[in-house]
């Protein structure tokens, strides 16, 4: 269940209230987000669409604790992250958020295995446990046979699947995907979308995705449009189940 009217039932996993973000460029104030409300329940798959500069990525950054809002609050699983200090927010991100980036953002000098292992280095898991988790995550994305490969030895689609494995390996509370198929051909994009779809449907993950691609958005259960910093409509996507 997703709502944008600020009247959530209080059980939502992610709740934003009066969220605003203003940048100052020269003497001019640019209001990227203004008074935005959002409620997302656990297990939802939400796509944010909108023209360039509409504030999609800014919204994702605020929900993921990568940026701080100029106004309003974000609460995730009962924790108001907009009140957290920098260090606490960093620890919170490690525990609760799995990021998937448009450009994959893999560390080029680390193998697929080592890239996926990175979030686990912040947990108290033993080396053996970490290895087991990494192997499981790579198996979920179908790249067990590529774990010793470096990013340069992988195709774009494979790189993004490694990125998704990295996002899910520490079992975060929710996934934030910023244009996950923006740099991929159709076939690879479909594979990545199938994977996200499966993570939500079979593994009960909550995913929020920014995209320009209507076909990608169509995979989400809910599509929200951002225009000039405001969520303007909530549409049930074509394949909503």
């Amino acid at each position: 269940m997703v709502s944008i009217d600020g009247r959530g039932d209080g059980k939502s996993l992610i709740r934003a209230r009066g969220l605003g973000k203003t940048y100052r460029r020269g003497g001019e104030e640019i209001h990227v987000l203004q008074g935005l409300n959002l409620d997302v329940d656990a297990g939802d798959f939400v796509a944010f669409m909108g023209p360039s500069g509409s504030g999609k990525t800014t919204l994702l950054n605020l929900l993921g604790g990568l940026d701080v809002p100029s106004a309003g609050s974000v609460t995730v699983a009962g924790d108001e992250i907009t009140r957290m200090s920098g260090a606490k927010l960093t620890a919170w991100r490690a525990r609760h958020v799995g990021f998937v980036f448009q450009m994959y953002n893999l560390i080029p000098v680390l193998t697929a295995f080592q890239n996926v292992e990175l979030p686990l280095l912040l947990t108290g898991l033993s080396k053996a446990e970490r290895h087991r988790h990494v192997e499981t995550a790579l198996a979920v994305v179908g790249l067990t046979d590529r774990m010793r490969h470096y990013p340069r030895q992988l195709s774009g689609g494979q790189e993004q699947r490694v990125g998704i494995a990295r996002a899910i390996v520490a079992d975060p509370t929710f996934l934030l995907c910023d244009e996950p198929t923006g740099d991929l051909d159709r076939k690879s994009a479909d594979e990545v979308l199938d994977l996200l779809d499966r993570l939500v449907r079979d593994h009960g993950k909550t995913a929020l995705m920014v995209t320009h691609d209507p076909l990608a958005a169509a995979r989400a259960r809910t599509v929200l449009h951002l225009e000039k910093g405001v969520l303007v409509e909530s549409v049930a996507a074509g394949n909503a189940r």
């Binding site: 953002n105 280095l121 912040l122």
Partner: protein, 389 residues
């Protein structure tokens, strides 16, 4: 847990050209730093090793070295009778000595260098048991014969075993070579003091110093107290080791200070090299750093990671600098000992302590060069950095 070091090591390898430049900058600085200090250490060690803890050198009160000292024969007799002096078959082990400077052509340099000529009795070999004759024989008393240190023939022309030289108005023959174990004596020429005094027309009852072999190192206090309170003599007494250590101090300090200044100037250059390498590393990897921070690695982890990366460069540079300078160990060179105005041959001494200092200096450069870029890396706003290309 911190960002894995393999990330830093592989990143350095991936940007090997700028890494090599920074490594070479640090290696050169460490090399010069260690070389200069090993020069000072070698000079100091050569002089300090010349002295024995069991020997006391007696000079005129107020004399800064043997060169401006004088000890009369009557005073030598008082020294011989002083408590604590070792006695052998030939009586008290006290060696009265005369020192002059003579110049000889330095080998392969086309200029002359001053050598210290020490007039001694054969007792000098008993007073200094580390001095061993390694070729030829000792001089015969009453003859113009020379027993030369093992560095003399290598430093000067015409002073090899069997050769004859003229100096001080006499003609001298080199009849023996001695080895004092790498000390200052190895650069000296020894002969009979009575002959030397005659040739140089010195008063026959005058020496410049008297070196006494004591029964034990602890005997110095009693020996010193007895002589300094004796109204017949006005002398100063130093443990031989301290006397040579004092002699070495001026030049050692000069070399150390000069070496440190050069090292600091070069070090500043090397730090800029490291800074440049690390700043470019940070700017090239803006998105990687932002990704790591997005994943949950804190600012502290990022700072530590990049400082470690800089320290890796410094460590490799430091090790390289040490390895390059290591063959200098034992390499013999020479300089003027400004206390005696004579040429002194000595060897570079690259000690483990100096190598450790070199490595510490390298790591300091790496740290200074690593912290500002590391802090910049940790402070960049994550949201915008994630979108950097």
């Amino acid at each position: 847990m911190a960002i894995p070091i393999v990330y830093n090591v592989r990143s350095l390898a991936a940007r090997w050209t700028s890494t090599v430049v920074a490594v070479l900058g640090i290696a050169g600085t460490v090399g010069v730093f260690v070389a200069m200090l090993s020069l000072a250490r070698g000079f100091e060690a050569t002089l300090v090793a010349s002295g024995s803890a069991r020997n006391a050198i007696v000079r005129r009160a107020g004399a800064t070295s043997e060169m401006d000292s004088s000890v009369m024969l009557e005073q030598v007799r008082v020294v011989e009778d002083a408590p604590g002096v070792e006695r052998g078959g030939a009586g008290p082990l006290v060696s009265p000595e005369v020192v002059v400077i003579a110049s000889f052509p330095l080998r392969g340099r086309g200029v002359e260098g001053n050598a210290q000529v020490r007039g001694v009795s054969l007792k000098a070999l008993t007073v200094r048991p580390t001095v061993k004759i390694v070729a030829g024989r000792a001089f015969q008393p009453g003859l113009t014969e020379l027993l030369v240190g093992r560095n003399v023939a290598a430093s000067y022309e015409g002073l090899e075993l069997g050769q004859t030289v003229r100096f001080g108005g006499g003609t001298w023959t080199v009849v023996g070579v001695f080895d004092s174990g790498g000390t200052a004596y190895d650069s000296e020429l020894w002969c009979d003091y009575s002959v030397l005094r005659q040739v140089y027309q010195r008063p026959l009852n005058m020496f410049q110093s008297a070196t006494a072999r004591l029964t034990s190192p602890d005997a110095l206090t009693g020996f010193k107290d007895a002589l300094t309170s004796d109204p017949r003599v006005t002398v100063q007494i130093d443990r031989e080791v301290d006397y040579y250590a004092k002699q070495s101090r001026q030049l050692t300090t000069l070399i150390t200070v000069l070496g440190s200044i050069i090292a600091v100037v070069m070090g500043i250059g090397a730090v800029f090299g490291a800074l440049n390498t690390m700043y470019s590393a940070v700017s090239e990897r803006t998105r990687e750093i932002a990704t790591l921070r997005a994943l949950g690695f804190g600012s502290g982890s990022v700072v530590v990671s990049f400082v470690i990366e800089s320290l890796c460069i410094a460590l490799v540079g430091g090790l390289l600098g040490c390895v390059v300078v290591l063959p200098l160990n034992g390499f013999t060179t020479g300089t003027i000992n400004w206390q005696t105005f004579s040429h002194l041959a000595f060897a570079f001494r690259v000690t483990p302590g100096l190598l450790a200092m070199g490595l510490a200096f390298a790591l300091l450069m790496g740290f200074i060069g690593g912290v500002p870029p590391a802090v910049r890396a940790a402070r960049a706003p994550i949201a915008s950095a994630l979108r950097e290309l």
